[in-house]
């Protein structure tokens, strides 16, 4: 079943020249490289995939993806699978939102020993 999704993110900072699809994710770090997340319709309680693009010249050493429902104090029941596609693109599979409501997507990116965190909010109906 397909649910409408609403991206509730607010992005700051100037746009970065980068071929990225989707919405820019938030980071509390000043001058953090831009990270974009693209997702089609999210099926409730079924696995889905997203595409994350990191706009930065420095190579990404590692990316970790997670999500939580702050109001319910729980996270994902499954560990997402991250696959590097090259050119700063990452495919994330085995995502599963098992409840409707507000989810916060969390992406941690390691650049040469520097770890930055990004978030986006997704309201799943």
């Amino acid at each position: 079943m397909i649910r409408c999704i609403f991206w509730l993110l607010a992005s700051s900072g100037a746009a970065v020249a980068c071929e990225a699809a989707g919405e820019r994710m938030n980071s509390e770090t000043q001058d953090a490289p831009a990270v974009y997340v693209a997702v089609d319709d999210i099926p409730l309680s079924q696995p889905f995939s997203i595409l994350v693009t990191v706009c930065n010249e420095a190579a990404v050493n590692e990316m970790r993806v997670d999500a939580i429902m702050p109001a319910h104090k729980h996270g994902l029941n499954y560990t997402p699978k991250v696959t590097a596609l090259g050119d700063g693109n990452f495919r994330v599979d085995e995502m599963l939102f098992h409840m409707p409501g507000l989810w916060v997507l969390q992406v941690d990116v390691d650049f040469r020993g520097r770890s930055l965190s990004y978030t986006s909010s997704i309201a799943l109906k």
Partner: protein, 376 residues
């Protein structure tokens, strides 16, 4: 998102007034519970899924005692087709009184997990375990092969799988389970009054939708809203197929507990009968990702799989241990829930609802429209 004009329509038919009470947002949420029935998807891990011969043999084996080592009972002894494939017993009675309520066997095709604790990731594996479980059918691989070889089912079995004598006993066990699974896949609850309502909303036929009882509509509003039911009971099957702490005690006695999902995962992760294992017929191992990626937590202890609510009025008693006798008791359980019983580090969803008597009646009325039975 589609926008309707007024979400509330008043229909005047003589002296009878009927309304669609739902807001636009509630209507959109309601559409997510359908359409019903779902289109059939063959199980790629079971090469005889949707095979007419296997379905017929599975149906025959289901009701025959040949699958218990001593011919004492059949699958249907606990999963009675005349009682919505369960019984009215609080807990299942196998060779001993088991720890859990017998789940109904309808709408099982394509689930991610099976059983209260989710110890299987396929319907054929869920069909296999009771055959060899000592407290249930109590066969072993050899005794099953022998029993089938000497039974009246041997010709049909060999017509599907070839000569039984050339098959390893474990293969006979798996083939038998896949035959049962082919049958169980066909068990789907019928359309209900709720489905007619939901489809009318989708067609924007508010005149037809307004025939759905107002008390059920109010119950649906609670279900979607203040009751928080929809967080776990969602999608067309009214279940998210995950595991939750519903505040039902899981102590079996003073010294033993029902481990629920914690034990189910331990069982599953050491099982040879999984979608990622050699007994799956799917070369692509679809569905195996869930076992590979599932997260384990000590808060899995005492959590149980969200049951579907389709046909729920036909399957009393309720909860994993059958401790609640009727739907009224279930609603009162959640309304007055003792949050002290919930995991302190678990999800924060359930809280006392303090429902009024009218609200309890409305929720029960809604749940009853998910079945084709009427209250006596």
């Amino acid at each position: 998102m589609r926008l309707w004009g007024p979400a509330v329509l008043v229909i005047l038919t003589g002296a009878v007034r009927a309304e669609v009470l739902l807001s636009e947002e509630e209507i959109q949420q309601t559409l997510s519970f359908g359409p019903w029935p779902p289109s059939f998807q063959s199980d790629p891990s079971n090469r005889i899924s949707n095979d007419a011969r296997a379905i017929a043999l599975g149906a025959a084996l289901f009701t025959d005692p040949v699958l218990s080592v001593d011919g004492a009972f059949s699958c249907a002894s606990c999963h009675d087709p005349k009682q919505a494939f369960t019984t009215s017993d609080t807990r299942a009675l196998g060779r001993v009184l088991l720890d859990r309520n017998t789940p109904s066997l309808r709408n099982l095709s394509g689930l991610r997990w099976y059983g209260w604790g989710g110890k299987s990731d396929s319907l054929w594996a869920a069909s296999l375990h009771p055959i060899i479980e000592e407290q249930e059918m109590a066969h072993n691989k050899e005794s099953l092969k022998s029993a089938l070889s000497e039974s009246s089912f041997i010709d049909d079995f060999e017509a599907i799988f070839g000569g039984i004598q050339s098959q390893d006993p474990e293969l006979v066990l798996v083939n038998t389970a896949k035959t049962l699974s082919a049958y169980l896949e066909t068990l789907v609850t019928e359309r209900t009054q709720f489905d007619d309502f939901r489809d009318a909303l989708e067609r924007r036929d508010l005149t037809e939708a307004a025939h759905y009882p107002e008390t059920a509509q109010r119950g649906l509003q609670l279900f979607l809203g203040r009751g928080n039911c929809v967080f776990c009971h969602n999608s067309p099957g009214f279940s998210n197929n995950e595991f939750h702490d519903a505040g039902v005690p899981y102590f079996l006695n003073e010294t033993e507990v029902d481990e629920g999902r914690f034990g189910g995962l331990n069982f599953l992760l050491s099982s040879a009968y999984t979608l990622g294992g050699d007994w799956s017929d799917d070369p692509d191992k679809r569905g195996a990702w869930a076992v590979r990626s599932v997260r384990r937590s000590h808060s899995d202890f005492g959590t149980f799989r969200t049951p579907s609510l389709r046909g729920v009025a036909e399957t009393a008693p309720y909860m994993h241990n059958g401790s609640l006798n009727d739907l009224d008791a279930v609603i009162r359980h959640y309304s007055e829930i003792d949050t002290e019983r919930l995991h302190t580090d678990g999800e924060a969803i359930l809280s006392e609802l303090n429902l009024s008597e009218q609200e309890i009646a409305d929720l029960v009325a809604f749940l009853e429209t998910l079945s084709n039975v009427t209250r006596p």
